[in-house]
């Protein structure tokens, strides 16, 4: 009731609830007294309610900043003067030949260039996205005593790689810049699901849960942890900075037989972005980091590493247990 009375005093309730409260207060004089007491207690806040005025040219400068960005982003096309009427018979056969050769040369050089540029833009966007993920992972780690990154569990609802997304969401670290489907063609945001909702699916709607295990991690791979002293452990900020924690997804899902040596399909099979514990992102043309296959453990299995130096980053549905 306290929260409702506070909400009523500060006008935080929806219109309907506000009206219900008014009705309630009309019938309960003792509640009116409490509202009066609350208003009096909150009154000091009003002494600092005067807003600071914005600087006089803030709007102009903001719009200028956006215009500047637009100019950089979308350069104006040069104005083309109206075309002169072409004289009939001006084009001769050798001209056609020369023009065709020129066009074919341009296509031969230009098309791969366009594809390459697009590929590079996709790789850079994905690397940027992984850096943003690193901010979220570090924030998560800084909010627990053992400074652990989200850890995939051995059993239960959070026992697949993609469950790091709901773990981040629970902790309020899933900000809107993050994308779980990041390819050369663009990206899409992660599904905002809490671990409670995930557990509910796990307990009562298994087919939906199975679908979520494939979907939540998108086209990224996340650390499945490693075995030590008979237990499963996750990575923490105390681990070596070079250890991979997240990357483009492997060329196979957790439920599929592993493929050796092939790169992630995210960037046309040419390599994968790999995010390390220290926040660095590198585009690697093979899937080996310091001789370790980041997608399989030393036994070439899709499961947790055999020790902390045996990194295994699993696709969304991959599990730490074989």
């Amino acid at each position: 009731m306290d929260e409702k009375l506070i909400g009523y005093c500060l006008n935080l309730l929806d219109d309907e609830t506000q009206q219900e409260m008014e009705e309630y207060l009309r019938r309960h004089p003792e509640a009116q007294q409490r509202v009066h007491r609350l208003r009096k207690a909150l009154a000091p806040l009003a002494s600092d309610s005067l807003e600071d005025s914005p600087p006089p040219d803030l709007v102009t400068r903001t719009l200028g900043c956006i215009a500047e960005y637009r100019c950089q982003k979308l350069p104006m096309a040069p104005r083309v003067s109206p075309r002169q009427p072409m004289r009939q018979g001006w084009w001769r056969r050798p001209d056609f030949l020369a023009a065709s050769i020129l066009i074919l040369s341009l296509v031969a050089v230009g098309v791969p260039f366009v594809f390459r540029s697009r590929h590079q833009a996709g790789v850079l966007r994905c690397a940027d996205n992984l850096r943003n993920f690193h901010h979220a992972l570090v924030d998560y780690a800084d909010h627990n005593e053992r400074r652990e990154f989200p850890m995939i569990q051995e059993n239960g609802a959070c026992s697949f790689a993609g469950s790091f997304i709901p773990l981040l969401h629970d902790a309020g670290m899933l900000d809107e810049r993050l994308m779980t489907n990041c390819t050369n063609e663009g990206g899409s945001p992660p599904r905002r699901l809490t671990t409670r909702q995930l557990k509910d699916c796990y307990d009562h709607r298994r087919s939906e849960y199975d679908h979520l295990t494939h979907e939540l991690g998108g086209n990224y791979a996340y650390s499945l942890g490693y075995r030590q002293g008979g237990g499963l452990h996750g990575l923490s900020r105390a681990h070596d900075g070079y250890l991979p924690i997240m990357a483009d997804r492997p060329p196979f899902y957790g439920c599929e037989p592993p493929v050796l040596e092939k790169n992630s399909p995210n960037h046309g099979g040419q390599g994968q972005n790999v995010l390390s514990v220290d926040g660095s992102v590198s585009f690697r043309k093979t899937r080996f980091v310091n001789g370790d296959d980041i997608y399989l453990n030393r036994n070439q299995k899709i499961c947790a590493g055999q020790d902390e130096r045996d990194s295994v980053l699993g696709a969304s549905d991959a599990k730490p247990a074989p």
């Binding site: 009375l5 506070i6 935080l12 929806d14 207690a41 600071d52 719009l63 909010h143 309020g172």
Partner: protein, 205 residues
């Protein structure tokens, strides 16, 4: 009769919808509309005028960049505040001012609010602690007490009290359940009352 610019009578949602469809000139009206309110929020949140200006500009740049993702009818105000809050946190993080509070500490702080009700606290009080303090001194004490709140509680006080947003909108902005907003606000108000009690007591004795 003076003619009215049609953009001034459009809702925020209509303006952003227009921007997303290429009517870029409508964006200026949106910036003007939120100039005072959003700058005030950022100034209070960041406690630094220059930083608030930068974050204000970045917020609208981000909104502009995301305008092509705008889904018709989605309320603009909470979205704008979400972007502004994230930008502010990023700016503080760059300056090393962002408070990293452990989840355990967060829960513990919220629990304090739950165990001792604000109203119970007020009922046992004979006199309001800041009654004897007026004017600028009162304002400064109040501001200092709000600034000393843990960041996750201060966010809720700023959005609820100073920005006048609804519980539901705050939940959307901070991406937390409405129940958490309520408990955080309750905890924040308990802490403020305690701070005011403490700051007033030496003068009374």
């Amino acid at each position: 009769m003076a003619s009215t610019d049609p953009s001034t009578i459009c809702s925020d949602e209509e303006l952003l919808q227009g921007v997303s469809q290429g009517q870029v000139h409508l964006f200026g009206e949106l910036v003007r509309r939120y100039e005072r309110e959003l700058y005030g929020y950022l100034r209070r949140y960041l406690g630094d005028a220059a930083l608030a200006e930068d974050v204000f500009q970045n917020t609208f740049l981000q909104l502009y960049l995301k305008s092509n993702q705008y889904e018709a009818g989605r309320p603009v105000k909470p979205w704008l505040y979400t972007i502004a809050t994230h930008q502010a946190i990023d700016a503080m993080r760059r300056q090393g001012r962002h408070q990293a509070v452990s989840l355990d500490e967060k829960r513990a702080t919220e629990d304090v609010g739950d165990t001792r009700s604000l109203l119970e606290m007020l009922e046992s009080r004979e006199q309001d602690p800041l009654d004897s303090v007026q004017g600028e001194e009162r304002r400064l004490r109040v501001r200092a007490s709000v600034e000393q709140l843990p960041e996750f509680l201060r966010q809720v006080v700023l959005l609820a009290y100073y920005q006048g947003l609804k519980y539901r909108e705050i939940a959307e902005i901070l991406d937390i359940p409405v129940g958490t907003v309520k408990s955080r606000l309750h905890a924040a108000l308990v802490k403020l009352q305690q701070a005011w009690d403490t700051s007033a007591s030496p003068r009374e004795t």
